[in-house]
Symmetry: C2
Subunit: 223 residues, 2 copies
């Protein structure tokens, strides 16, 4: 399991987008070996230059190189671009790599928030169906608002729902969640729960719009 | 809008089941005029005899009579039995009646928790499609665990998600939610949000099973 101080590396693909950057920054602060995966490594190198890190300074690589070197790969790219990306990356993953899907397949067509229909049931299962069996898949970080991951925000004070295709995938993903201050992982079981988690995100967006906030997130009471 | 002290009546169909009974008891305690709708009014009369009420003592009626006399009708029956029930009741509702769907279309087939596929999208929209336009529909009380509604439990200390087919339906349902100690209504918008709420319930059940508790419920942080 990847943890602060280990030589294992975590790649964050889409690591210069808002969600990916926030996650990569927290992982670096926590002391993980972070590889920021980007289509534009020059820009990415500038971006990560000032990040505080308690472990090794964050590296930068293109998507293929980042995935090939990592033990954990976080998919923080738009859902609509994930199919060609997985096709490109698929031969490069190491056996035993854990892929963490953090995408939410939401559309805002016509001003209405809706989940995109996914034949496999959820974005996470869609990813699972496009990877070899030796690569494990978990789903996490789908409900915490991306902008709250940014520098300067205090403890997140909420729960983050985790599901995955194996006990090991779930515990590794949960351990990563627990690295972020104030974020408690809640294991909800197999990957087939991912759609319910994606619905939670939709609900958070709906609550934000209706109640004119940006910060809606969830806490499980009674646990 | 129905409120403590008004002559408007709220019928709870399935008012002797665990969820319906808990809701009916709280409404009576809060001072609403409550009609417990039951297929077995004799048994129901025995059941309600000892309920504390700050307003009129709870009445008992069969489903048709309860629905015909009520201004708000809570559907606390199993989802699988709702089609024939709505067909039976449909001609008896008063114009302007608010129907509140509290059902969760969950199946436990093969030991796996899953939502029942509903052509209309959700149980709430299924109900909406089977009622005349003059009857309004809201969805509420789907995520608070039924056994926590029972006598003796303290403040619920969580949020309850509300959606509905009109502003009025949502505010009436929200006002009812707010009658229960420690329960905060969170308006999430149109009835098309109901499926996301139903997914939340599935998630709560999954969390309960996995973490060996019965009390999982939700709080929105940042609101």
């Amino acid at each position: 399991m990847i943890q602060p101080g280990s030589t294992d590396a975590i790649a964050v693909l889409g690591g210069t987008g808002r969600q990916g950057r926030g996650l990569a920054q927290w992982f670096a602060r926590a002391g993980l070996r972070v590889i920021v995966g980007s289509r534009d490594p020059v820009r990415a190198r500038e971006a990560v230059a000032g990040w505080p890190a308690t472990g090794p300074p964050p590296e930068v690589a293109d998507y293929v190189a980042a995935s090939a070197r990592a033990d954990v790969v976080v998919l923080a790219v738009p859902f609509v671009s994930v199919d060609p990306l997985l096709q490109e990356l698929q031969p490069h993953f190491k056996d035993g790599t854990l892929v963490i899907d953090v995408m939410v397949p939401v559309t805002f067509a016509g001003g209405k928030i809706a989940l995109i229909d996914v034949a496999e049931g959820s974005a996470a299962e869609h990813v699972r169906a496009r990877l070899p069996p030796a690569v494990r898949v978990a789903c996490a970080f789908k409900t915490v608002p991306a902008h709250l991951l940014g520098a300067g925000f205090g403890p997140l004070d909420c729960d983050e729902f985790v599901c995955g295709d194996s006990d090991e995938a779930r515990s590794s993903a949960s351990a990563l969640v627990a690295l972020l201050p104030g974020l408690r992982p809640v294991d909800v079981g197999p990957l087939s729960r991912a759609r319910s988690i994606e619905h939670l995100t939709t609900l958070a967006i709906a609550i934000n719009r209706r109640h004119k906030t940006h910060d809606a997130r969830f806490r499980v009471v009674g646990l």
